[in-house]
């Protein structure tokens, strides 16, 4: 599944700054050509700079696909295949496997959220519930304990 966005990191700015404007321009065009699946020829002089960036992009894509697969599996397990609203479950549409998903995934989530907010509004209405974090669970228990005490007191008052 191809994404509509990719990540460049702030620290990679150093690499760009170290290049001449001409080389930096060629590099960024090369990167766009690569992420758009055009399989560009890599000039010899840009190889040492481009290859680490390409490897990072590939790693992010792999992570994204892994998360998609996990989430698709989770969604199918919980809701059954017939209830899947779309053919492909995307990262931003589905349950997260864990509250602390890694940074790359978060970045991707955010990117995609921004990029696709409009086109996915109808789907958001059907959003699948995320699992509760342990902290939220603890807060829920605390509140329920207090609410229970109040409910008992209320029942006693009603009985007179």
């Amino acid at each position: 599944m191809k994404k509509k966005s990719f990540i460049l990191y702030q620290e990679q700015g150093e690499t760009f700054n170290a290049l001449t404007k001409h080389k930096a321009g060629r590099l960024i065009k090369l990167i766009f050509s690569y992420v758009n699946g055009e399989n560009p020829q890599i000039p010899e002089d840009l190889k040492p700079i481009f290859i680490p960036i390409r490897q990072q992009i590939d790693r992010n894509q792999e992570n994204y696909e892994k998360v998609c697969k996990i989430n698709k599996g989770n969604a199918e397990k919980r809701w059954g295949k017939e209830k899947q609203p779309q053919k492909n479950t995307k990262v931003y549409e589905s349950m997260r496997p864990h509250a602390n998903a890694d940074d790359n995934d978060n970045d991707n989530d955010n990117d995609n959220d921004i990029n696709t907010k409009k086109e996915n509004t109808s789907y958001k209405k059907k959003a699948i519930t995320k699992p509760l974090t342990p902290e939220t669970k603890n807060k829920i228990w605390d509140i329920l304990e207090v609410a229970s005490v109040k409910a008992v007191a209320q029942q006693r008052r009603r009985r007179g």
Binding site: P134, E135, T136, L144, A147, S148
Partner: protein, 304 residues
Amino acid sequence: MANLADIITLKDKAIKKIKSGFSLIDDLVDFRSGNSYLLAGYEKSGKSSFALGIIVNLLKQNKKMAFFNTELTDGEFLVALTALGHGITKKEAEEKPKLQEVTAKLLENNLYYAGISQLSKDGKLNFDMTMKLAQEAIDFGAEVFFFDNLTTYASQTSGGQKGWEVLAGSVSNVLSFTKLNNITSFIVIHTKPETVFNETPTGIRKLVDANETEKVFEKSVTVVRRPSGNDIYGGGGIRSQVSGTILIWRPFQLFDQKPHLQILTQIILENFRHTRGGSARYEFEGARGRFKEDLISQTLEANK
């Protein structure tokens, strides 16, 4: 007449402690022979599943047990045990009659079982019959007894007896039987329906909204409040006679649409005679009838 010192020595030697196999609970309390414990909760909160969980855990310790079942059909009982024992869902267990047969065979030497048909006389549940079979279970060698569910006897009263009288009478009988035979008994019983209330605590509504779940609490939802020993049928009278009460609290058990909330479970250990009691958090997987220990939130809570 025996010397008092002899009696005390013999009695001490005879006390056997059993572990339920639920580690969070076993850390807080122990269950002793000669003592009876109530296992209570709102209807369908998972009391029978919890009892079956103890059975599966005790089987690993090769204990002999007896189960008197007035809640489930015999088939449902076997399916539930098969699911728990093999870590599969009840639906899967239902579709595997051979696995059910294997389970029944495995239990043959460890579990004395009586269902509604054995416990009834003239088409009605009969407590005298239950006690007669309980004696048979002693001969079988059972050390741990489950009476699931004594509330059912109270609902089938006869001869002008009131429900609570039948219930109190049956609990007293089980208590004496347990002491005399130096066994451990778990008496399953319902809590009263008044533990349910229809208000949604606003704090929870905010929290769940903040967690970006669907707007689940737009309308008020039915929540089961924390039960206590006073909410048990038969009330304080029954509670004071037993050596401890295990209460199952699933606040969102009636909230079908939200499985991630429905699983939240707290096991409350109240009025334990020999230990301090407390509470432990679990997640109840209804499809498997399994109580999973919720260790992460438990640890976070403990370290607060």
